[in-house]
């Protein structure tokens, strides 16, 4: 008998991630489309100020949360999961900092 189907508390329920994944996904569709077409229309950095901020924030969340879902499915060991999750955090934070630098530096 496998035991321990326990209620894990609100913080770790997955509701928030799930909801934000959907919200960010829908916004990203619009934002990336704008980003993509602006590139064609008015050169490489058109409309960047409106678009790039949410793009990076949401994009990084959406990406890494998606990666986490995949990790949860295929990585069974809790230790490896924790390590991979830590890597995601590091990559995410680095990417966010770099993104900020790119946007503000131009």
């Amino acid at each position: 008998m496998i035991k321990g189907y326990k209620y894990n508390g609100h913080g770790d329920s997955g509701l928030f991630e799930w909801l934000l994944q959907r919200v960010s996904g829908v916004i990203l569709i619009v934002v990336i489309a704008v980003h993509f077409f602006s590139m064609i229309k008015s050169g490489e950095w058109g409309l960047k100020s409106i678009v790039l901020g949410p793009l990076f924030a949401l994009g990084i969340f959406h990406t890494l949360n998606g990666f986490k879902a995949i990790t949860d499915d295929y990585v069974k060991s809790t230790i490896w999961r924790a390590i991979i999750l830590a890597i995601y955090w590091i990559v995410g934070v680095t990417a966010a900092v770099l993104a900020l630098k790119v946007v503000s530096g131009l």
Binding site: T63, I70, A95
Partner: protein
């Protein structure tokens, strides 16, 4: 509170594995002769995952590239085939993602609806990819 719900089933999970070389957990993941059929929904989900991984990697490398840490990346994405792959991945992931949102927030969960929706997603992906590919190659 939840512990109250433990089933009082007994006489289970105690098989004596005399001479059995297979560990117990492998009795769940033994090699299958036929793997599970890829229904529409499962295909859509697998494609969503694959395209998601492609896009995610692209995004991260894009940021690193723009920040000047991965110069090789610009060269890679200059390639037309790579661009097409990213484009297809994006268009599919976007439309299919929107379909998943529809499942939750409209009546997309109906059995009759979702396979049709998937066909629409595939069609839109093809059409939009072609339209999007024109500027890429011009």
């Amino acid at each position: 509170m939840v512990e109250d719900n433990e089933l009082n089933f007994t006489g289970v999970c105690k098989i004596k594995y005399k001479g059995c070389k297979m560990p117990r957990k492998d009795l769940v993941t033994y090699p299958k002769k036929v793997s599970y059929k890829k229904h529409t929904g499962m295909t859509a989900w697998l494609l969503h995952r694959i395209s998601g991984v492609i896009l995610g990697l692209y995004l991260l490398l894009h940021i690193f590239g723009k920040a000047g840490y991965a110069d090789w990346f610009g060269a890679l994405t200059g390639n037309a085939i790579a661009r097409i792959i990213v484009l297809v991945a994006f268009v599919y992931h976007a439309f299919n993602g929107f379909r998943i949102v529809l499942i939750d927030f409209s009546n997309g969960a109906e059995k009759e609806v979702f396979s049709k929706q998937f066909m629409v997603v595939v069609l839109l992906t093809i059409v939009v990819t072609i339209i999007g590919a024109i500027p890429l190659f011009s």
